[in-house]
Symmetry: C2
Subunit: 321 residues, 2 copies
């Protein structure tokens, strides 16, 4: 058994080769540039952990981990275009540095490269792996579209928002774990529980991310607190506040959304507290975290094998900042 | 054995189902819209023809044909974004009708859907089929990037241009035939010759397309003659004229490219004739067509099986308009 940190080092070594040909550089240099911006590589490591929950890490796990990481980077390149984001990890995004058209194509070819790695998997399990990869990829696209749809609406219900977040961010974590489980020889029941662990953990993580953006300690959080409030981003806090506030509080929130007042963050934080949205959001996070842990419990393997996943879940969620 | 027309009807029936879920409609309606714009469906039919050159059409050929057609439509949706094209088959393009971000995502999910169909192929040949699909898809992306790169250069050599056209348009025809050949049980030598047939035929077709845009009979050609000249598009004619004209002719061409004179088309056609670019382009077309037919000849099957491909090649190229 390996810890997340050990697998992280091993994956960094494996992934650190050049995935693309030299020519045409106008297409592949953008991909090389984007991959060297780094990232925590959580998703591919989940493939390895999903595998190791059931058996020693198999040869097949590595190309699948590569495929998952390349898929994730493909979505980031295209999402950055859609969000018109100038920066990613503090550096210019691909479309900013190389133009939108090249970013579009670089993303496309990154996705095809992911399928090249998937095609290295042993034929006895390839079809099951590719099936889950496709399902996950489709759901991530659906989640991104719903996210764009929701930005134009001010009546998004909490359940709709949870569904969108699950598609956009959590199913990839869940799918990575499930592909690892398939490689490790897990049966359907265990693979289903592992999938639900990943999905619920991902939702809990996203709720926490929204919470910390508003109420986190700026020094520990590592980015500007209140950024979501300033940019009018839909978050669990905002949706909870809109659906639980009284009519006076809801109008106050809506008028804050309409203009950039200098005390906007402070006032919105006050409204989140008055409407109870802060507590509701914390409770929601706990609810999904507990669901995740329930599904991890349910997996029928000796509990020592679950230790790395348990530690990862606590590391991701139990942060006090 | 079936003719192109017979296979065309059969494929239209098979392909005419709904490939996408109902929800979210904001993502999938654009895909349904684009697919119902139609098209000649040449590429998927080449899968069926490649298969039938060697054996009766197998079950596997149909989902692969679907995958090829969806891949082709994915490239059209994304290319239309890059070309800022307002119309496709006389109707608004996806980005024009639904916005660029949705068009980007709709294309992405169309590509994933192509891989879903590929994943239905029998596991004994799935890996070879997916390998060729990936190779082809990668080359198409490379071709599109080179095309964009070349638009910014005025010193593109004929060989570079042929290479770009081969990647952007011909390898998909060639790849479709090869996937069909693999399904039909062809050996490597036969599959290689069939691939080269498709690749050279595709290049010959593109050269003819460039030629007819300038010198075709407008009534038979079905679109505005001289459109490439008006839009300064790089074509085989322009590249031949620039590389074979004397210095006076080259300056005349370059000054025509710089402004939109009312007699631009007429003058450019004159220069294509004076530089011999018209004859060079016709000869080049014949050269690639002959190469294609040579490779078709070389395929070791009874000649009656080659008849539908021979007829298709002559239909595509020997048009007198």
């Amino acid at each position: 058994m390996h810890s997340f940190q050990e697998l992280s080092i091993a994956f960094a070594n494996y992934f650190g080769t050049d995935h693309f040909p030299q020519t045409p550089g106008s297409l592949y240099d953008p991909n090389r540039y984007f991959l060297q911006l780094g990232g925590k590589r959580i998703r591919p490591i989940l493939v390895l952990m999903g595998n190791e929950l059931f058996d020693d890490i198999k040869t097949d796990a590595w190309p699948v981990a590569n495929a998952i990481e390349l898929f994730h980077n493909f979505t980031l390149i295209h999402d950055d275009i859609m969000d018109a984001a100038p920066l990613r990890r503090g550096m210019p995004t691909v479309h900013e540095k190389y133009g939108t058209h090249t970013a579009l194509l670089a993303g496309d070819v990154m996705l095809v490269k992911a399928y090249e790695y998937l095609n290295q998997v042993d034929k006895e399990i390839a079809s099951r792996i590719i099936k889950w990869f496709n399902t996950t990829a489709t759901q991530v696209c659906e989640g991104q579209q719903l996210d764009m749809d929701f930005e134009k609406r001010d009546d998004v219900a909490l359940e709709e928002y949870i569904h969108m977040i699950a598609l956009k961010t959590s199913v990839l974590l869940a799918g990575a774990l499930r592909m690892g489980a398939i490689i490790g020889g897990a049966g359907k029941r265990n693979a289903d529980h592992l999938y639900e662990f990943g999905k619920n953990l991902g939702i809990a993580f996203q709720i926490q991310d929204d919470y910390l953006d508003a109420f986190g300690d700026p020094e520990k959080f590592g980015k500007q607190v209140g950024g979501d409030i300033i940019s009018n981003k839909k978050t669990f806090l905002l949706i909870n506040a809109l659906s639980n506030g009284n009519s006076e509080q809801v109008s106050a929130i809506k008028s804050l959304l309409e203009k950039q007042a200098p005390d906007k963050v402070e006032k919105m934080l006050g409204l989140y507290r008055q409407t109870g949205a802060d507590t509701l959001t914390r409770n929601l996070q706990k609810e999904f975290f507990d669901k995740a842990m329930f599904h991890l419990e349910e997996i029928a393997v000796v509990s020592s094998r679950k230790k790395p996943l348990m530690e990862l879940a606590e590391f991701l969620i139990a942060r006090d900042y």
